[in-house]
Each structure stands twice: as C-alpha cells, then as structure tokens.
Amino acid sequence: MPSTSQRMAGDLAGRMAAVVGERNCISDPAGLLVYEYDGLTHGRTRPSLVVLPGSTDEVVEVVKLARAAGVPIVPRGAGTGLSGGARPTPGCVVVGLSRMNRVLAVDLEGGTARVEPGVVNLDVSRAAAAAGLYYAPDPSSQSVCTIGGNVAENSGGAHCLKYGFTVNHVLAARVVLDGGEVVDLGGPSLDTPGYDLLAVLVGSEGMLGIVTEVTLRLLRKPQATSTFFATFPSTDEAGDAVSGIIAAGILPAAIEMMDRLAIAAARAATGLDWPDVGAALLMDADGPAAEAEHVARRAVEIARQAGALEVRIPRDEAERQLMWKGRKSAFAAVGRLSPNYMVEDGVIPRSEIARVLRDIAAMARQAGLRVANVFHAGDGNLHPLILYDARAPGEEERAARLGREILRLCVRYGGSITGEHGVGAEKADAMSDMFTEDDLETMARVRCAFDPAGRFNPGKMFPTPRLCGEKPGPYVAHPLETSGEAERW
C-alpha cells in the first residue's frame, strides 16, 4: 500500500498532468534520475515530481498547485549550472522550462529580442545574426545553456570584461510569483519609474519566482577583432602583462589566462601546437578597425616587456577560432589529466593575480593535489580546477576543502566567492565568509518581499535557512523553527 506522502505526490502529479499534459509530467524514478543534479554532479537529490510547462499560463497553474500542496518549487533551465542552483530540494517539484523555447520577436530596428526562458543563449545571436547583431553574454556553455538560467545566475562569459553580464543586457522580464501573480518588470524603454526590481531578479538564482519571458538587448557586432596568443615562463609574467595592459588604459574585449596544466590539457584535447610553458594569455581587442589594431599592438608590446616568450597572431578567422577553441576546451580537457576534477569560481582584484596563483599553488602542494588554472584574467575571475581521484579514499573531501580554502583566499584579497557560477547549494555556507549576518538578513528581506513562503528554490544561497517574519500578527513558531532547522529573524 502506498504511503500517505506517496499518495499525496501521486495526487499532485495527477493535477499537474492535467495542466501540462501527461507526457510533460514526470514522476517515474527512471525519468526523475536526470533531474537529480545539474552541472555540479556531486550531491544529488531526487525531486518528487518534474513538470515541463509550455506557457506562462501553465506556469501560473503549476505554481498555484504547488502552493496549495505546500511543496517547494525548484526552477530549472538546461541544468548546466555549476553551483547546484538547480539541485532539487527534498520533496520539491522541479519546474523545467525547456519546452518554453520560442524566440517570440526579434526587433532588428530597435535591437531587442523577446524570448522564452528555454531559448538557448547562442540561438538568440543566431536569430539576430543576419542584421549584424548579437547577444553579448557568452558563458562557455552558451551552445546549450538557456536564457532563463542565464537570468537566474546573471551569467557572464569571457567577453563580459568589456560588455558586461546578463544584468546589463536584460530590458524586461515577466515573472510568476508564488500565488500565481504575473508581474512584468522593466519595459521596452530604459528607466521604468520605480525600484529596479529587474536588477534584483537577475542573479536571484531562481529564488524569487519563475521567469517566463525575457526581453534582451542586442548589440552591433564590432567592426574588427584583433587577437593574439602569448606565452610566458610563468603566471607571474603573464599576470604582470595583464596588469600592464589594463594600466595602459586598454579595455580588452577578453583576456584569458591558462597555466601550464591547462595548456597541456587544451593541447591534448585539440592537438593545437601550444608549447609547454608556464602560462599563456589569449586576448581579443575589438571595436572600430583602427582602434582594435592599435590596442592589440600596444598590448603585444606590453606583453613582450612583461617577459612574453612568444606572441602568435592568427593569420585568419579560422586560426583565431582554433585558438579560442583551445581556450574553451581547456575546462573539459582537464578531465584527460585526472579521473575527477572540481571547478572553483572565485574573484580577486586583478592586480593580485600572480600572488594569488602562487598562494593557490602552495595550498595545492600542501593538500597533495594538482590545480589547473584557466580563467578570465581581465576581471580577476579565477577558475581553479582541482584534480583528484574519487576512488582514492579521502581525496574528494581534500579537494572540496582546498576549494573552500581558495574561496577564503579570494575574500581575504578583497574579492568574491563567485564571479559567475552563483552560490547555489554549493557555496551557501561560504556566504558567511563574505557577508555579515546583517548583510545576509537584508538580502533575505528582499527575498521575503517577493516570496514570503520561501516557495522558490529554498535552501540555496543562505548559510542558514530563513523564514520570513510576517508582520503584523501574533508570533507563532514555525515547525522548522521548533525542530531547530531554521531560525526566525
């Protein structure tokens, strides 16, 4: 005989199926399996149900049903996130937005695109390419990750140094709140009167509501892009080159650094003839032709002065693409060097790159682990890849501990625990390294304004689960409070 909770889940599944259709409501264990985790593969939780709504109206009904049943909702895009932001909460309904994948309108004259959240990042640029426009934020996963997920995480990418993050490119969003209210934030023109709630929604990691429509700003493709690849004896000289380039008043479109291990991985994955050196930089300068050319030339001079061993300038676009392919493949290619690896994401002031990388190397040696570094040097956004072997007893824990120490190091240098992957499930406890209790409480108040019941993606971002103190009304202890699982503030 099914237990009460199973029966309740079954009833809810039936009601959800009536909204989204049988085939878009997944409750069998095999079907649920792929929803147990996202791009962060360690740590899994099985949801009680996955629903795939096809419209804003369906999302509204789904949210109302979840609310009536008192179950949490975890929104999900393509599941490529690297912080466990889409990892299910026990007993939750996962609301997958993959079916809402229509480009609703592209306004080439106005330079905007209105899309559903399940549209793949790169498909926005494809839809605008004929008019010479593109969508600027370019996370490495852009061929699979979706706009809804990008909005949730405020995704960046290699070129956000010059062009900014998702928040700088979203003009409007439609969001479904707990209770089923549909609210439009932002609008077709800039500076809608009132609080900039759109800016809060972007990067809120699915904790405020479900975004069902997004209006994006499209940019004109730059006239020219000048690229170079430079090698250095070590990350010290490469770090000096980055500092020198920025100090010369240059704003590169992108400037990426790889260390010896990352270069080796990229070489192994792509067959590129990159040499065995301590560090390499890959830089794009773009804009009007003379500006891009001038800037690239200056940057090359600075790189040489900083001690570059060799500078390569791609002969044509094909070779340029190959260089970028090497950079972009370095992440996954590290898998060739080690059975397992963890990706960290921390930010430091860029002038400290050389020192911090030395510190990380020392910490890695002490932990008996190898760390490869491939990262966005221009904005100091480190991505240490910690190599380990999960079969070796204790090594995974050691790797996780090293990751956490690296984040603390970033905070000590005045940086951040995440530059683009988000806090999610993985780094919730690290938030206390960066923020005081009062800072976190202020954020929690913002969340309570949107979602007083804590319906959306509970248990993420905050180190301690929080309940929204409802006012006015007499104080009644919440069951989670009496059980010691959460505290009121």
Binding site: D191, Y195, P288, S416, V446
Partner: protein, 410 residues
C-alpha cells in the same frame, strides 16, 4: 533629541517642507548613530546630498529630520590598477573626478551639475549624462555599497570587484531608490581610463526622421561613439557625436562619420575644442536648468513619434523651452518655465499618454508647485508597484524614509 542635530530652517526645506531637525554626520559611524537615534525616536527623515535632484518626486508626506551627507566625503580607497574606488556617499562628483584624473581615470558618470552633485545622490537618483550611451548608468557602474537600513543597521551588498554574483543584488536595488530604502554611506564604483583623445562631430539641421536615420546609420557603420546627443533649436536638431579613445581610433571614426554623412547627404563638421565645449556646455545648461524639467523615455526607434506627439507639444506649453535628446538611448529632456500651470499640466498628461502608447514614460525632475498640484511627477504607477511596496515594507516597515516621495506614494 538626536545628538549633533541642529534645528531646521526654511533654507533646509525640501519641496516646501521644513524639517524640524538637520543632521550632518561626518563619519559613517556617526551616520549609523544618527540613523539609530532616528529609528529610536521614530523620526521620518530624508537624505540630502548635493540637492541637485532634490525636486525629483513628490514632497515628503511628513518630515521630522533631514540627514545631509556632504560631510561624508572621504575617498576610502582608490585602487588604480584594479580600477575601482570606494567613496563615501557625500563626495562631490567633480572632487572625485579631479582625484581620479591624476591617475588618468574617471567614473564614467556625467550627470548635470557635477560640482554640486554627490556620488551618493547621483546613485540614489539614478542621474546620468550623455556618456550613458557607452558606459551605461549607475546600475552598470556601481559594484558595491555600504548602507544603513531604516532600523539603524549598517550593512553592505556587492563587493569590491566588478565581477561578482554572490547574493542578491541589493546595490542595484538601491540605485534610483531615492533614499526610500536605506541611507547610502559608501559607494564602490568601477573606473574607466581617461581617453587619450576626444573629438565631437556636429551634424546640424536635422528633423526627427533625419536624426533617427543618422543615428541608425552610425550603428550600421559600426561606429562606437561615447556620447550621442541632439540639441533641439527651434524645430531642428543639432546632433553632437563624441568619440573617445586612442588617437588613431578616434581619427578613423571621425573620418568614417564624415564619409557617412556625405553619403546620407548631410553636412557634418568636426568641432574644435572650443566649439565642442560650447556644444556640451549648452547641453549641460538645458539638462540642469529650468523651473520645470521633464525626462521622456521611449524605445529609441520611436524617436519621431516621441518628438511629434510628446516633446514638441510639451515645449509649446513652456516659455523659453529647450530640449536635449539622447537618440540612441530613447531619452528626451525638456526644460523651461510653464506658461500657465493648467496648460502645462495638460501638456504633461497628453505627452504621458503618447509615450505610454509607445511603451515609455514621463517623469518630472522639477516642477513649480502650481504644476505639481495638478500632476503626479511620476505618472501612472508601473506594473510592479505592488511588489515595490512589498520591498519597501520589508526594508522600511514604518515608512519613515522619505515617506510619500517615491513612485506610487512609496
């Protein structure tokens, strides 16, 4: 009684409302103390920086105290190689720019009246100038903030690095919140290098259609100016296009623009330094002057409709009316002296209706009392108003911070 407070005088009035007390903390610690004392005494208060945007919004519904930030004027940290500065909110924008220029850097914010405007005020009012075309507005440049909540709790959001997604973006929520959610005490801003070269090219004698045509062609030609602004003179636009960057790039862009203008059959003239200063000076005067100032917003592609159905009719209800348009951003700014309050109010409402049809809005940045009595400076409530009220209720539950001043009476 709050320590260090003095009595308010008519000179301290905000939109005609005289506060009982005036506080001028000189350190962040004193500001926290003052906020705690105001919370304890349940004082309704309003924050004033350089007062350049003091006429924005409705008069406060009630006012016990004004907290002036002008003595919070330290640059806490400037890291030239990391291109960030941590600045106390009362720092004058021009003072900050002078300090940064010694390192060949700047904050890429150029709102009107930088000699008076404070960084905190600029951020709280979301004030901006023509360089927004290239650099964005405060929401794009502020990377962190220190603030004091209504209950006197100091807190912070964001950080000191440009790339940072840790936690909800409280700083961006506070940008443009006009002191209704918290007192800003420090602002951390992203800096940009000062350009090596700068040049303005003038394209005169354009009607609205032609202005839109030139601006669209700029994009199609992949030109990347830092500012695009048009002055309206009688019924023709004089378009100023400013390039900033390294000398070879600026020179090439000027050449390309001149060639483009020729292809379009338009006259274009590079301005020498004096003429460029005069053009941008005139721009600043239109933006910063006038007893009535209106900001019109609409999608940039609707420029001709904005000019015909909103801007021109509004100007005809003003004496000495003048206007500036940012055609790439979709903003128009009109200023002047209302000829008659009721006619001006009608013109504002009718411009609002026209802009609403285009997906835009009109906000009064300043207006005489007679006009205020007839129209709401914010216009009809935006769609997210209920949610905005909920945010306000969470951060300032007793509605003590600038009560009634903001959108929808928040």
């Amino acid at each position: 009684m709050v320590a260090g407070a003095r009595e308010g005088t008519p000179a301290d009035a905000v939109l005609g409302v005289i506060p009982r007390l005036v506080l001028e903390p000189s350190t962040v610690e004193e500001a926290v103390e003052a906020m705690r004392a105001c919370a304890r005494d349940r004082l309704r208060l309003l924050f004033v920086g350089g007062a350049t945007e003091i006429e924005l919004g409705r008069p406060p519904a009630a006012l016990d105290a004004v907290l002036r930030t002008v003595r919070l004027a330290r640059v806490v940290e400037h890291a030239p190689s990391d291109q960030i500065a941590v600045v106390e909110a009362g720092t004058r924008l021009s003072d900050l720019q002078r300090l940064l220029s010694a390192h060949r850097q700047r904050v890429a914010l150029d709102p009107p009246l930088p000699e008076a405007a404070t960084l905190g005020g600029v951020v709280a009012a979301n004030a901006f100038g023509p360089r927004r075309h290239r650099f964005g507005s405060a929401r794009d440049l502020v990377v962190g903030m220190g603030f004091v909540r209504a209950d006197g709790t100091p807190a912070k959001g964001g950080g000191k690095v440009v790339k940072n997604v840790a936690g909800f973006d409280v700083p961006r929520l506070l940008v443009g919140s006009l002191g209704t959610l918290a007192l800003l005490t420090t602002v951390t801003v992203r800096l940009y290098p000062l350009p090596e070269a700068e040049e303005t090219v003038l394209v005169p004698d354009l009607d609205a259609m032609a202005l839109r045509q030139v601006v669209t062609a700029l994009g199609a030609e992949q030109l990347e100016p830092s500012s695009v602004a048009a002055l309206l003179e009688s019924d023709r636009f004089r378009l100023g296009i400013r390039f900033e960057g390294f000398a070879p790039g600026v020179a090439e862009q000027r050449r390309n623009l001149l060639a483009l203008a020729e292809r379009l059959g338009r006259r274009a003239e590079p301005l020498d330094d004096g003429a460029a200063r005069a053009f941008w000076g005139r721009h600043d005067a239109v933006r910063g002057d006038g007893p009535l100032r209106a900001k019109l917003s609409a999608p940039p592609a609707a420029l001709a409709q904005v000019a015909g159905a909103a801007l021109m009719p509004l100007l005809s209800a003003l004496q000495g009316g003048a206007a500036v348009v940012y055609p790439t951003l979709g903003f128009a700014f009109a200023s002047g002296q209302p000829a008659a309050a009721d006619a001006t109010a009608r013109a504002v409402e009718s411009a609002r209706a026209a802009l609403a049809r285009l997906g835009g809005s009109l906000v009064l940045g300043a207006a005489p009392g007679e006009v205020r009595a007839l129209v709401d400076p914010w216009g009809p409530p935006p769609p997210g108003l209920d949610l905005m009220r909920r945010v306000k209720a969470r951060l300032d539950p007793d509605a003590r911070l600038a009560p009634g001043r903001f959108v929808g009476g928040i």
